[in-house]
Amino acid sequence: MDWAVFATIAVPAGTAGLLMAIPSRHRDVVRYVALMSGSSLFILSLIIFGKYQFDDGGYAFELQLDWLGNVAFLGEKGITYHLAVDGIAAPLVLLTGIVIFAGVFMSWNIEYRNKDFFILLFLMVGGVYGVFESVDLFFLFFFYELAVLPMYLLIAVWGSSTDFGTFVRTKEYGAMKLVLYLVAGSVLIFIAIFATFVEAGQGSFDLPVLGSVTYGENFQKTFFPFFMLGFGVLAGLWPFHTWSPDGHVAAPTAVSMLHAGVLMKLGAFGILRVGMSLFPEGAAFWAPVLMTLGVTGALYGAISAMAQRDLKYMVGYSSVSHMGYVLMGLATMNEIGINGAVLQMFAHGVMTALMFAMVGAIYDQAHARDMTIFGGLSRNMPRHASYWAVAGLSSLGLPGLAGFVAEFHIFVGTFQADYIWAGALGILAAAITATYILRMLAFAFFGPFNERWASLKEMRIGEQFGGAVLIFFIAFMGMWPMPFVDRIAATVSRLPGIT
């Protein structure tokens, strides 16, 4: 099954190529091709997740091809196209499969140049898979940027500009800021990769090779922040988070889903996969800072979300808040906390994708996202309301749904690592989450029905199905987290410097 990992990158690339060949007037053909591809990615991801042997937590599905060697400073092997999946990547690969599968459904009714849309979307997905599966730092970085780049056009062309009265956020602004911000983060990563490579002196960008080297303490302390901040930007690390709400507000539905659902995870994944596994001492040194920023982000995001009236802003800030938990989990430097962080990546990915999908579903019909102008929508859209509720409840940490399992691990880890204040504030942030989620539900879906929206109908069947897939995983993980925990813990326990 080694081809499965390769296929997750080949399929999106192939899809993009295939779509290019289809004349753009055949919109339905484009859709079905996208659906086929999305489903096959979903199935592939399930296979990878399911078949991952978690006994020793090592790499599985390894594939290593020579790419650029014979360069003196790169050594004989040089850069290799090295793909593999470990217990941390496996759930995230699955997450990507789920979200793109659902995302195709949510993008079904895009009419404007839908071919180009799907081409870019699949390019981005290929990049995302690449990051999760790359074991070579060069390719990790390669795919990292690849995942970011299509975002510009996806947002700028298919997104929406919004006038908020006191200020305006155009899609061009959102797109530009998002892309530049993320690439700015990658500047730091780039620098740190160079330095690491030279310091290691192994002539390889391969993570296992780089990981076999012990780096000097000062070196670790100097360069861990590069990875921390560089990847942290993508993970919505406070105070480098503002691209996220503005970007999401501008982005089209499927892009928001993928972006908040998966792309933000790349950042946290990078901190873990690259920063912490290479520089355990550096990580330990900077962990208090990461913890502080994580908690700040969690609280700050939650409080900001509480002040939002625009649904997407609310969800966007909630993403900042939830990614704050992920960073807290990473900063614990213990197995429970990091497990929780990875669980939270998955959980947040699925639930935030669902939230954005629901925002999209309502925006498609109403062309408005201000929660206060709606009211009683659950009368006409009961399913829609209940999907919202599930996503919201998961995000506020209701037991039985995915968010709780993850957050609980994180809090426990935080307390175990003696950041009691941080854990307490994190729990408080979860309570604030309840406030804004319920506030939103009360504004938009409950209360007297607002006749202005009498024309709104229930979501399309495709949207319902896509949402149902997401809900299935939210509930699945909430009820039976062991399949995830097994895989994650097996790998996390192998990380250096983890207590």
Binding site: L68, N70, V71, F73, F138, E145, E172, V183, F190, I191
Partner: protein, 492 residues
């Protein structure tokens, strides 16, 4: 002394072809209208193919030029640049310029100049080749006779070029004075010994040579002709300048510093690093403010020069890879840049416009062109999938190997800045409202050339190994003597 004249065959082909073009233009009016450009391209191609005869050879002509893989690489490289320049010019010249025969002849002559800049193994030949290249470009820049901007660009380029080549010459004279030779290897030999008696003159000469070459490749603060000449020159000529002048300049720069001045590397490293930093900062920051596509590309190319200078700053006796990395990036940059210019030329052919704001809605009117331009710009910005990512990565890494992490950091930062202004162009193409919704007619030949360039961009971006091997084979020859043997052990 080897006087095997056949070694000069590719250039004879070019020169002869140039003469033929002029005559054809003179006597055969009908052909010249439509086919002259393609005929010239065929000439460049023929010379390229001829040069392949000496693949993997290592010989020299009268100790003046050497014919080895370095030369062959650049002969092929410049030959191909010539091919694309001619093809891309065809329609433009037909519609807008007088005297096409001479125009194409000059393009072919630039190829000779460029090739010999790479091939030269002593200063005089290098200088004359440089002047051949420059003179041709001066003429070409002012070729749009009735366009004030073309006149102005030509004037500035020419006068400053003369000024800087005087500086360059003065520097060469000083170097000649202290080393008593113009042979690169001879200079190397002298510099390997004790230089304390004459180092003041030596370093002054070095500075002046850096300035002269810096002018050629447009390094800050010797860059100021670039934006004006780029903007003034007819578009295909701008493309040519950006490709061949820069590449030729670096071929010489690299060879001179690797072959002749390497023993002093510890002295000049920081200076070149400083120039490099200033160059990439200024180029990329000012590019943000541009609204003409040619000017934008001019500043962006200044930024690229900054990156390329890193490669020279990272040269060292035990690091042949910096040279390879530099040439690799040079190739990646030229391919991407040519692609971008071909796009601009095609657009100009349609609309006679070259302001960035004029690209509004291009994606509606010519999707392929918009896509191609985006790809080339992203490649220039160093985005993955495309050539720029890999070549920059390797170049920067090579610099870091020489403890230039700070410089690489600036480089990474500025290439991030560059993404912004490239994205602005992309924004106009994809988000702007087109003036009118009609599709443009498809220029098949130009599109074909563009497609070939894009394939190049992707090939380098996705599988750089063949190009890298070729580059490594070629740069192995520019290190002198014992060091060469020691440093390119990884090569064949």
């Amino acid at each position: 002394m080897n006087l095997d004249w056949s070694l000069l065959a590719p250039e004879y082909v070019l020169a002869g072809w140039a003469a033929m073009l002029v005559s054809v233009d003179l006597f055969w009016g009908r052909l010249r209208k439509d086919w002259l450009g393609y005929l010239a391209a065929a000439g460049a191609l023929a010379s390229t193919l001829t040069s392949l005869i000496w693949l993997n050879d290592d010989t020299n002509f009268a100790n003046l030029i050497e014919v080895n893989n370095y030369t062959t690489f650049f002969r092929v490289f410049f030959g191909l640049i010539g091919v694309f320049a001619c093809v891309a010019s065809a329609r433009f010249v037909k519609d807008r310029l007088l005297h096409p025969g001479e125009y194409y002849a000059l393009i072919l002559l630039t190829v000779i100049g460029g090739s010999y800049m790479a091939a030269a193994r002593e200063l005089l030949t290098a200088y004359i080749s440089l002047e051949l290249l420059s003179f041709s470009l001066y003429v070409l820049t002012s070729y749009a006779k009735f366009d004030l901007r073309s006149n102005e660009g030509g004037l500035k380029y020419m006068l400053l070029g003369a000024f800087s080549s005087a500086i360059f010459l003065f520097g060469m004279s000083l170097i000649y004075g202290v080393t008593r030779t113009t042979q690169f290897e001879g200079i190397h030999e002298v510099l390997t010994g004790d230089t304390s008696g004459f180092e003041l003159t030596l370093f002054l000469g070095l500075v002046l040579i850096i300035a002269g070459l810096g002018f050629k490749v447009a390094a800050v603060p010797f860059h100021m002709w670039t934006p004006d000449a780029y903007e003034g020159a007819p578009l295909p000529v701008t493309a040519l300048i950006s490709a061949i002048s820069k590449a030729g300049g670096f071929a010489l720069f690299l060879k001179l510093f690797a072959m002749a001045f390497l023993p002093l590397v510890d002295d000049w490293r920081l200076f070149l690093a400083g120039l490099s930093a200033a160059t990439m900062l200024l180029g990329n920051l000012v590019a943000i403010q541009q609204h003409n596509i040619k000017r934008l590309l001019a500043y962006s190319s200044i930024g690229q020069v900054g990156y390329l200078l890193m490669g020279i700053a990272a040269l060292s006796a035990d690091n042949a890879d910096a040279a390879s990395a530099l040439v690799l990036h040079l190739a990646g940059y030229v391919i991407s840049n040519l692609a971008a210019f071909v796009c601009a030329i095609i657009y100009f052919n349609w609309t006679e416009k070259d302001e960035i704001a004029d690209y509004d809605g291009l994606a509606e009117r010519a999707p392929f062109l918009a896509l191609a331009l985006s790809i080339s710009l992203f490649s220039l910005a160093g985005m993955p999938l495309f050539a720029g990512f890999v070549t920059k990565f390797i170049l920067f890494q090579a610099a870091v190997e020489e403890d230039l992490l700070w410089l690489a950091s600036i480089a990474v930062f500025t290439s991030f800045v560059s993404l912004y202004y490239y994205l602005v162009v992309v924004k106009h193409m994809y988000l702007g409202e087109p003036e009118e919704p009609t599709r443009f007619p498809t220029p098949w030949v130009e599109y074909a050339a563009l497609a070939v360039l894009l394939i190049g961009v992707f090939l380098v971006g996705l599988g750089p190994q063949p190009l890298f091997n070729a580059v490594q084979d070629s740069t192995a020859f520019i290190f002198t003597g014992a060091e060469a043997a020691a440093t390119v052990g990884a090569g064949p």
